[in-house]
Point group: C2
Chain length 231, copies 2
DNA sequence: ACAAAAGTGTTCGACGTACACCCATGG
DNA sequence: CCATGGGTGTACGTCGAACACTTTTGT
């Protein structure tokens, strides 16, 4: 077989990206979910997605879709899985590459999201979703939990400056279990990957809690020592 | 937009699967690599792959390609990652979903593999590969290491009956470090996921080593107790 | 008898876990 | 002055890591 017929003989497929977009607000982990605009399943709840174009990589397609919906262009994003079952999309055979993204809810363009019919919902509020999107969310949660345990990705969900209580409640939300306050502080501070700021946050206590900021250089130093970030 | 044009307007892509096939033989981790038959890059070294057809899922495509090359139809297989860069295949725009597979080298159809120009090579023998296949192997090794630490997948690479020495040398090969014989035995035996057989293997010692067999039911019992397999 | 791999226990340090009280301050 | 969340230290048990000698048997 020559090269031309090798490629020409192969079938072509619609390829989509779907994004599981995590946020953290009011102490709760949330997902950005939208109402689908086209048939079939128009009006049903769906993840944010789009088709991969000729001139873009799948990663770029996911970044484009994310920016289109949130207005943010520097989102932490990881490929989750490629969902390739034949009948998964009831409108056509579509192979979908799912990405999960972590965003700081405060930073995103709320009106833009609203324009697209997108809503932030807590995990237990998620309605029935089209196609295999519920499975995607389930897989994304598992991936988030695995990933958050050994990589400093939790910080992507918090404001740049945050208190230890906020950080702890984020991990409590991710793992769905309460963490001991003293042990958590000991652990995270011993890793020495955050800068302690002079500022205090007084919004949630009279005394005020110190603000911290994740320091990528400190994290790099930790890696260089051969140590592993672990919560 | 109506449904017809929503799907019709989207571009279609060639979608391939590429398989990183691991085996374990003579105490070494090996990969099944083949020489490409078509242009461009004909004659160059490549992973085993093929195009996803209309009527099959990506998983099915990978299983088909694996059976086609090895003659085996019950191979342990995991999706690795979807590689979607625009220029990754120099012959055409091809989106590739990579899978890694673990097989018992002894069981596969050697002549069939040879017919396809496939060869088992040790990790340090792998020549330069086409496209992004070297990156795929690198990623697959990382995934194998991660996965082998918490899931009993090492057994997929060994014969049904194996000695503790074989098992240990497999893990030493995967992690590329020597493991203490006593600690390894203590750890793996404490998990109680293997059946100790009466038979002994005398091929590698005068004294003979007991053979063991992985027992999926014992592993399930471990899981039910909420414990985690960890090496 | 000897070579070659199989098999076996103990000690030590590190780390995870459990747990309760004082501090600072705004209202 | 008191309610609220912030901040702190210790004791115990578990588990991973290091480490060396005896057993068996084919040649």
């Amino acid at each position: 077989m020559n090269a031309a017929s090798f490629y020409a003989k192969a079938p072509k497929h619609l390829v989509a990206v779907d994004c599981i977009i995590f946020g953290f607000d009011e102490g709760r982990l949330k997902l950005l979910i939208m109402q689908r605009k086209v048939a079939p399943m128009a009006g049903e709840w769906s993840l944010v997605g789009g088709f991969v174009q000729e001139a873009e990589s799948t990663d770029e397609a996911a970044a484009r879709v994310l920016e289109h919906t949130t207005g943010l262009d520097d989102i932490y994003m990881n490929q989750l899985h490629c969902y390739g079952n034949v009948g998964r999309d009831t409108g056509a055979r579509v192979i979908s590459v799912a990405y999960y993204a972590l965003i700081r809810i405060k930073n995103h363009d709320k009106p833009l999201a609203r324009e697209h019919g997108a809503h932030w919902l807590e995990l237990h509020e998620i309605p029935e979703l089209i196609f295999d999107h519920a499975k995607m969310i389930e897989d994304a949660l598992a991936a988030l939990r695995n990933n958050a345990q050994f990589h400093p990705i939790g910080f992507e969900l918090l404001p740049e400056k945050f208190t230890l209580s906020q950080l702890r409640s984020l991990y409590e939300e991710i793992y769905q279990k309460t963490l001991d306050k003293r042990n958590f502080r000991k652990k995270i501070l011993s890793l020495d990957v955050m800068e302690k700021l002079e500022e205090k946050d007084k919004t949630s206590s009279k005394k005020g809690a110190h603000l911290y900021r994740f320091d990528p250089e400190k994290y790099e130093a930790l890696r260089r020592k051969g140590l592993v970030f672990e919560i």
